[in-house]
């Protein structure tokens, strides 16, 4: 088999057994890998509680992983989200996906529950479950350092063990599978870490065509100011977006009460670069190298973290941003959710958090101490328990990232329709609404956005399934990646065929959410965005979103996505996509 290994490891922790399942080629073709394939396997169990031992945790790579395809070293970790109850997944980089393919697997399906805290160690075709009791409560960096020599690592921190709803899984110390609280699922199975190491090769159908297609993508990446330009993410990390968000007056500030941060110029990527002089690293097989770490191997925060731990909390101490990021990574917590939950707390108690308070509250959350116990449930649950659910800036229970939807209406719609809740990456309209790629669209208009968002969702579903980095699609398109896919797998396809696959993957996620009771009332934004304005200076006015226009756009989206008028999947559409509505 070209591209795929054709093998999936099934690990049952309850009886400590594992087996190898041969992947059905038709299913691989229909769902590709990564998020698509994980979703296919998750759909059979999606109505189980997230902590039911039979609920699988799925780790899947794609056919392009462990090949010379550009930016294709990623993987998806998926289960049902403890934070939202929706499909819960995170795409993550590092080397894990590549090592998994080298070990001979396209994916791992973990079910059951270990009696004691354990680790899973994969070495080529061999899998063993090990005792990890000694690592209980240990931070991710420490565990990672102990596992040196065992290959790539995926580790949970104390937060997941302590039941924090937005727990992450940290891969290779620096790369977070942050969103959806996926780390808590691993903790519920009593798994502290997974390591994987292999030395196999992925078979390529046509290396010459792959080389040509790869050159096309490199050429486009070089032409992209956002990727490899003077101020692009290769030089500054994703924090390169920070100045732009502020300049566009859509930087969430003070728990989304404002949209411009007066001290942004002191807290931008340039400031971090000047102060910490970081070096570049990246995921395996990526030439963009957007990750930045300091000499003592501390991660420079990603844009979302940089923004939320500064503007969202009205914090202008740059070192606190670094510390907060480090604590979140060491404790194993999603930085976006953690910061947004603190911002919600800050607003409820009308109290600006000092740098020390930010740090100590984060530690309390991770260690399940004091106020941290409640805050660890996430912003929405926390606010609800205090009768102020209006102050939780979340969609479907997932806290919103660092793009204020009043400053980009496609983003407003994308947040609402995202299958994993408040997420910028499902449709990623920042690309055209802010970064002008492939061309600029009017960020203050819903006109045409329903179909644009649907197309964006399908595109990113494919990217997450191949698996390639979404950033490369600021420059390249599925037109180029279809050629890569064909060169690697030997399966003739086109960019448009891949879009159809993306549609199937996304519709499958809508079906899963519908099965768990999600309806159009969940495809919505917090009231604040319809009631309150953001920054205004005469030349840029960030007004409240017109509710009627939003609802009209959402209704158009349902038409375009071929859902019913309540946003529910339609059996006929599902059938045409090769899916079933239960």
């Amino acid at each position: 088999m070209y591209g795929w290994c054709g093998k999936i490891a099934r690990i049952n922790l309850s009886d400590q057994t594992w087996s190898v399942q041969t992947a059905d080629p038709d299913i691989l073709k229909k769902f590709i890998g990564g998020r698509g394939l994980a979703g296919y396997y998750l759909s059979k169990r999606i109505t189980l509680n997230w902590d039911d031992p039979d609920m699988p945790l799925l780790i899947f790579t794609g056919p392009l992983v462990n090949t010379r395809s550009p930016t294709s070293g990623r993987m998806t970790i998926m289960s049902r989200s403890p934070l939202t109850g929706t499909v819960g997944d995170s795409s993550v980089g590092g080397s894990f996906g590549t090592e998994l393919k080298k070990a001979g697997f396209d994916g791992i399906i973990i079910t059951g529950k270990s009696n004691t805290l354990s680790g899973i160690e994969i070495l080529n075709a061999s899998i063993r479950v090990t005792d990890a009791c000694r690592l209980a409560g240990r931070q991710t960096g420490y565990v990672h350092s102990l596992l040196k020599g065992k290959g790539s690592t995926a580790v949970i921190g104390p937060a997941a063990e302590n039941g924090v709803a937005f727990s992450s899984i940290i891969v290779d110390r620096h790369f977070a599978a942050g969103r959806s609280g996926i780390g808590r699922v691993l903790a519920s199975k009593n798994i502290k870490y997974i390591t994987v190491k292999g030395n196999g090769k992925t078979k390529i159908f046509n290396t010459r065509d792959l080389k040509k297609a790869r050159e096309d993508v490199f050429r486009l990446a070089a032409a992209s100011p956002i990727l490899l330009g003077e101020f692009g993410i290769s030089r500054f990390g994703t924090g390169a977006l920070y100045d732009l968000m502020d300049a566009r007056c859509m930087m969430p500030t003070n728990n989304f009460r404002q949209t411009k941060f007066s001290r942004a110029s002191l807290m931008n990527a340039h400031a971090f670069k000047k102060r910490y002089a970081p070096k570049k690293i990246g995921c395996r097989g990526c030439h963009i190298l957007c990750k930045k770490i300091t000499k003592n191997r501390t991660s420079i925060p990603e844009f979302e973290t940089m923004s939320h731990f500064s503007a969202l909390l009205d914090n202008s101490d740059i070192n606190t941003v670094i510390r907060a990021n480090r604590i979140c990574n060491e404790m194993g917590m999603d930085t976006i959710s953690a910061a947004a939950t603190l911002a919600c707390f800050s607003e409820i108690f009308q109290k600006k958090l000092s740098p020390d308070e930010i740090v100590s509250l984060l530690l309390d959350i991770g260690e399940k101490r004091g106020k941290g116990t409640d805050l660890g449930r996430g912003a929405l649950t926390y606010a609800k328990r205090r009768g102020r659910s209006d102050l939780a800036m979340a969609v479907k229970g997932q806290e919103l990232p660092a793009y204020d939807p009043r400053g980009a209406y496609g983003m407003a719609l994308a947040y609402a329709t995202s299958t994993r809740g408040g997420c910028h990456l499902r449709a990623y309209p920042v690309s055209h609404e802010i970064l002008r790629k492939p061309v600029a669209t009017d960020r203050f208009s819903f006109k045409g956005k329903a179909r644009i968002i649907k197309i964006g969702e399908d595109l990113n579903a494919v990217a997450d399934s191949l698996t390639a980095c979404k950033f490369i699609f600021f420059a390249a398109s599925l037109e180029e990646y279809a050629r890569i896919y064909t060169a690697v797998t030997g399966i003739k396809t086109s960019g448009q065929d891949l879009f159809k696959t993306g549609e199937r993957i996304y519709y499958n996620e809508r079906i899963m959410n519908a099965a768990n009771g999600f309806t159009e009332k969940d495809d919505d934004l917090p009231d604040r965005f319809f009631d309150s304005p953001g920054y205004k200076n005469g030349s840029i006015d960030i007004d409240p979103i017109d509710r009627e226009s939003f609802l009209k756009a959402r209704s158009n989206y349902y038409v375009v996505r071929k859902l019913d008028k309540n946003g529910m999947p339609v059996p006929d559409t599902a059938r045409k996509l090769g899916l079933v509505v239960p």
Binding site: G229, R436, G448
Partner: protein, 384 residues
């Protein structure tokens, strides 16, 4: 008619890409909308069932593009392979459908951003808006123009021109735009405020488009003032730069210019290493065509001229350098700044022209026109 349609009809007409009444422009959100009723709408709406697109432009190109595109399509064998920079970077190649049926058109558009249907026109599409479809339409016309005249020049030298092509060439020459001419003056520097810098950039942008020294909006403009480079944004229309100019502090203290033109690295290098403060970059056609006309035989870099050229080349006393769009080891930011130091401008192989000025855009604009007109005259010299 929706205003958006009027905007793109005007753009196609003003840039000489289509004749009045020719463009059929469609958009799909939850429902279709078209700029006008046409019998082709029903067939074209079928495309949207099979393609994840939201916009489409279908038009016969205006002359001389129409005859060029039809000729290249009919003699292509199914795919046209231009070798200019835009095609190489963004379009890759240009598929042809020999009949106007949705099945055949879909097959082509599944793979690429455009399809040429000889005798009918060009169809282009976008996934986020009409701007994409418009840009692709323009790029297809540009690429075909450059290819036709480049191929003709090459084949004339090798005695391979048949009657049909000669007759077409003679006809096309009569249909060419008149050579650009500019006798007035642009805003005079030195400028004393950011506002006047922005106005000067806007003025230069409008004139570049008006004189058809770029295709669609590709090209870029910058001016360095008070240690800040003001530069047109990526994907901005040079004839409408108000609100689309990024300030880029030379000390790198802000990343706001992440949305600046792809050629920002080259502009920065030029202002840092030369006396140039005002920089223009356009894609005048005959300069591009002549940059690809190289007589050196048995060159070890043949086929890679856009990446590397071991020879010192000049066209009309203007240096020709290799270099691809943007940054990277083969980026034109590595070749243009050095080459432009001692010359009125630089031509990048298969791509376009850079010119610079010290205080305002007068000199670079006039040089841009002069280089193009010299190249145009030289082209016709070479085919004699």
């Amino acid at each position: 008619m929706d205003q958006i349609f009027r905007i793109y009809e005007d753009k196609l007409l003003k840039s000489g890409l289509a004749d009045p009444g020719a463009p059929l422009i469609g958009l799909l959100d939850a429902r279709f909308s078209w700029n006008r009723d046409d019998i082709a709408c029903a067939e074209l709406e079928r495309l949207f069932d099979h393609l994840s697109i939201n916009s489409l432009v279908f038009s016969q190109p205006a002359e001389p593009y129409r005859s060029i595109v039809d000729y290249l399509a009919e003699t292509s064998g199914g795919i046209i392979f231009p070798s200019d920079c835009e095609t190489r970077t963004f379009l890759h190649d240009l598929p042809v459908s020999f009949n106007f049926s949705s099945e055949s058109i879909i097959l082509a558009l599944k793979e690429r951003k455009s399809v040429i249907i000889p005798g009918h026109g060009i169809i282009t599409h976008g996934t986020v808006g009409l701007e994409q479809a418009y840009v692709t339409f323009s790029s297809v016309c540009f690429a075909c123009f450059v290819k036709f005249f480049s191929d003709y020049l090459f084949d004339v030298k090798h005695g391979k021109i048949n009657n049909r092509r000669q007759n077409l060439f003679d006809l096309l020459v009569k249909r060419l735009d008149p050579a650009p001419c500019f006798k007035a003056s642009l805003m005079k520097g030195p400028f004393d405020s950011e506002m006047s810098v922005r106005k000067a950039i806007q003025e230069a942008g409008m004139l570049i488009v008006e004189h058809r020294l770029v295709d669609s909006y590709f090209g870029n403009i910058s001016f360095c003032y008070n240690d800040t480079l003001y530069i047109s944004q990526t994907g901005s229309s040079l004839d409408n730069l108000q609100g689309f100019i990024d300030p880029c502090p030379l000390d790198g203290s802000s990343c706001t210019a992440i949305t600046a033109s792809s050629e920002l690295p080259a502009h920065l290098e030029i202002v840092k290493n030369t006396n140039g403060k005002a920089i223009l970059h356009g894609h005048p056609k005959f300069s591009v065509i002549l940059s690809m006309d190289c007589n050196i035989e048995k060159c070890e870099c043949r086929g890679k001229c856009h990446i590397k050229c071991p020879h010192e080349r000049f066209v009309c006393d203007i240096p020709v350098v290799s270099g691809e769009v943007g940054s990277g080891p083969h980026g034109l930011c590595n070749t243009v700044p050095e080459a432009i130091k001692d010359w009125p401008g630089v031509i990048v192989y298969g791509h376009g022209v850079f010119t610079t000025g010290k205080t305002d855009f007068n000199r670079p604009f006039k040089n841009l026109i002069k280089i193009e007109n010299d190249c145009r005259a030289e082209y016709f010299n070479r085919i004699r």
